[in-house]
């Protein structure tokens, strides 16, 4: 019978590190990738030679960027794997690192993400396409979704904008966020619009950056005398792809719902036990629909609940305390890894003025074009 990650050896996140997400620069990806990796090693208190396998989430760097980067830590000969899963590349690299430790293949593994903006098109599958195929950029897809949601549930422009106001406010407190400016409701609602009611503050920025996390077994933690208090257990790792859903069911919602439900089962928790959630809020409407898909709000009520402050830091569950993709940014490869870093920071109680009080259980959610979805649940044990 197939196993879940919780059926195997316990896996703990023992180190996290980031380099600030930012606009495109002349900096080499190696430079900021190493900053994030060295920060994670320092956070864990272990040297590079202890890492036994390395997974690099990257969607834009092309062939073989991993070894070119990590050899500068000392070439130890460990297995290196690049992971491309669109926006979920980093989340998938984290999952692979967890599976190495959980299965016993390694005692300590690292998942990192690094990317610089580039024009890399999605793979061409040879389809003749449809009438609008190449014109349906993500911003238009989600603007259409926002319109559909408005028709169905009556979400107001203020409720949609409230997502951006909250997340930009959270990002303003995050030294690793690409956008660190508080935004007013008026700014978020103002033209020019990119598509429908969505202006640029409703959309995540394009940028570059790096993030790294280290996962370890209990054996490694004991051998290295690592702090159990700062080690956060990975309770679930769910990974699914889009399938054919029931007629009328929105696939964005269905994919997240199925993946999250699987993660809840694996972790043995329910939605109301979540204290912090980092989700794929590349566009404001996404935070609303995924909040509902995860069971945090009733259908049609996500916009209302967010605008009412339910999901502010200090609310019943903090959504996007890092600032989310909207404000922290979405450099792609690093994003999912950066989410894990934020959840870990929250569960350790080390998030400073972004801290969700008493956070014990967190969830990280990413989707990738295609589509795929990954959900991880972590818990302070």
């Amino acid at each position: 019978m197939a196993k879940t990650i919780r059926d195997m050896r316990p896996v703990y996140v023992i180190g996290i590190g980031l380099d600030r997400y930012q606009r495109y620069s002349e900096r080499s990806y190696i430079e900021f990738g190493l900053i994030a990796i060295r920060a994670a090693l320092a956070d864990a208190g272990i040297p590079w030679p202890e890492i036994e396998s390395f997974y690099l989430g990257t969607a834009m760097m092309g062939m073989a960027p991993g070894r070119a980067m990590i050899k500068h830590l000392g070439a130890t000969g460990i297995p290196i794997t690049q992971v491309e899963n669109a926006s979920a590349s980093g989340s998938t690299s984290f999952r692979q690192a967890c599976l190495d430790v959980a299965s016993g293949l390694t005692d300590i593994s690292m998942a990192a993400g690094v990317d610089k903006p580039a024009l890399i098109p999605q793979a061409d599958g040879g389809s003749p396409g449809d009438l609008i195929g190449k014109m349906l950029a993500p911003v238009h897809h989600f603007a259409l979704l926002a319109d559909q949601y408005r028709e169905q549930y009556g979400v107001t422009p203020e409720q949609l904008a409230a997502v951006a106001v909250k997340n930009h406010c959270n990002g303003s407190k995050n030294p690793f966020a690409q956008r660190q400016k508080v935004r007013t409701l008026e700014e978020v609602k103002a033209p020019p619009y990119l598509s429908g009611p969505l202006n640029r503050l409703h959309c995540c920025p394009i940028g570059e950056g790096a993030a790294a996390v280290i996962v370890a077994s209990e054996d490694a933690m004991e051998r290295l005398k690592l702090s159990a208090e700062r080690s956060i257990r990975v309770m679930a790792s769910a990974s699914r792809s889009e399938r054919l859903y029931e007629p009328g069911e929105n696939w964005d919602v269905a994919l997240t719902r199925e993946t999250t439900e699987q993660a809840y089962r694996e972790a043995g928790i329910t939605a109301d036990q979540l204290d912090v959630v980092e989700l794929h809020d590349a566009f404001t409407i996404e935070e609303i629909i995924y909040t509902e898909a995860m069971g945090l709000s009733e259908k049609g009520k996500g916009g209302r609940d967010i605008a009412a402050g339910d999901f502010d830091i200090g609310g019943r569950c903090a959504l996007s305390p890092s600032g989310g993709l909207l404000s922290m940014g979405h450099p792609i490869g690093p994003t999912g890894v950066g989410q894990i870093a934020e959840v870990v920071r929250q569960l350790r109680g080390e998030a400073g003025n972004r801290q969700q009080p008493g956070a014990k259980t967190g969830l990280a959610h990413m989707v990738g074009v295609g589509a795929v979805c990954l959900v991880h649940i972590l818990q302070r044990t």
Binding site: S28, I30, E31, L34, R38, P47, W48, P49, M69, K71, H72, L73, G74, A75
Partner: protein
């Protein structure tokens, strides 16, 4: 910022690389991300100038479009192994001593290698 590959000092051509103070590993070109042998970085890495002489390890004749050239791997007398292009009327053999010389490549200063007699 990328560092230059070479410089000329009183007519002597020097290749610019890096040395790790921790383990003495040397490499060309100059890169300061970290030592591939021991992982040291930051102030442990220093700029190093290498003499432009070394022994030929291997070579291959390349025909690319209308241009033909000799590509080679050499081990510098000062340590690093690097790839280079040989310009020499007589084809050197493995073990031959080679030296770098300055020339103009596509309108810019560049380096080629040739055999040293004797």
């Amino acid at each position: 910022m990328k560092k230059p590959l070479f410089k000329t000092d009183n007519g002597t051509l020097l290749l610019l690389g890096t040395e790790c103070k921790s383990c003495r590993h040397r490499w060309f070109p100059a890169l300061s991300f970290g030592c591939e042998r021991c992982g040291a970085y930051g102030e442990e890495l220093i700029d190093k100038e290498f003499r432009g002489t070394g022994r030929l390890l291997s070579r291959v004749e390349v025909a690319e479009g209308t241009s033909n050239f000799t590509l080679a791997m050499i081990r510098l007398d000062d340590g690093p192994v690097l790839g280079c292009i040989i310009e020499d009327p007589d084809t050197p053999s493995a073990g031959d001593l080679l030296e770098a010389f300055g020339t103009t490549i596509d309108g810019k200063p560049g380096i080629r290698f040739r055999r040293v007699d004797g």
